[in-house]
């Protein structure tokens, strides 16, 4: 456990060194930050926008904005969390532009507490993902997450895909910790319910012993 802890702590100070060098005008340090986080930003952006070209734009715009505002970055927070906040805002702006008829914000989609109570309880087959090949599985996962409201999939991707803590997610989205937890619960339950259609145990006993 101790070794894992050290590994987690080390990149933070290393990250800070890169940020400080970039602030002094060292572009190769900034390029290293791009290298370090471009894949994460792309993944987050595509989860939110559900559009590849928009996600590419978000990656460029988020890093360019970070570069232009580096002097304003407060070093007591993590650069990555700050960058994620910029990227999420850019991604939500893309969505708003694409779907002007619908307001897109992190505060929408608040329905009653009961809306995500499980209606479907049926169990899944063991190793459900193995029923499909890689391409089919990605299609299923992509379609399923597309059906979630943007505010929910944003919280889900930051917490469960990117592994940010609840507090980091709250900071990046400027939401309270309880709001993050409530959205995360509903996102997880809704995804579970939707995936159930593909992963449920089949009547024939497929996958059953």
């Amino acid at each position: 456990m101790g070794a894992i802890q050290n590994k987690l702590e080390e990149p933070v100070s290393d990250e800070l060194k890169l940020v400080q060098a970039a602030k002094r005008g060292d572009d190769s340090a900034f390029e290293e930050l791009v290298r370090r986080y471009d894949r994460n930003v792309f993944r987050i952006a595509q989860h939110i926008t559900q559009n590849r070209e928009d996600a590419e734009d978000v990656v460029q715009e988020a890093f360019l904005k970070a570069y232009g505002n580096l002097a304003k970055f407060q070093e007591q927070s993590k650069f990555y969390t700050w960058l994620v906040r910029i990227a999420v805002n850019e991604a939500l702006m893309k969505l708003r532009r694409r779907k002007p008829e619908r307001t897109v914000s992190l505060d929408e989609d608040i329905k009653t507490e009961d809306d995500s109570l499980p209606r479907e309880i049926a169990d899944w087959s063991p190793n459900p993902e193995q029923q499909y090949n890689q391409a089919e599985l990605r299609e299923i996962l992509s379609k399923t997450i597309q059906g979630l409201p943007p505010g929910f999939r944003t919280v889900f991707v930051l917490r469960d895909v990117e592994g940010l803590s609840t507090e980091e997610t709250a900071a990046a989205l400027e939401l309270s910790v309880p709001a993050v937890k409530s959205r995360l619960l509903r996102a997880r339950l809704q995804l579970r319910e939707r995936l159930g259609r593909f992963f449920q145990k089949r009547e024939s006993g497929d996958g059953d012993q």
Partner: protein, 85 residues
Amino acid sequence: MKCSEFLHELTNYLDGVLDEPTKAELENHLSWCHNCYVVCDTTKKTIEIYRDSQLYELPDDLRTRLRSAIMTKCQEHKKRGPQSV
């Protein structure tokens, strides 16, 4: 503990942030309530499947192209001065 109370704590349970007494209460509920057991287990699988899916990976060629575009724009920004972003 009722099923709705279990569900309310599900995210905290899956994230491993509950105190021992609450965790024990939840696990007691799970030991006899099959529905909650299934919901808990399949929610955990949902998270794992997404986490392991490598959905939306950035391909290497696109990655190189984007990085080069970013650095070019950063340099243009530097030449124009701090007001331009």
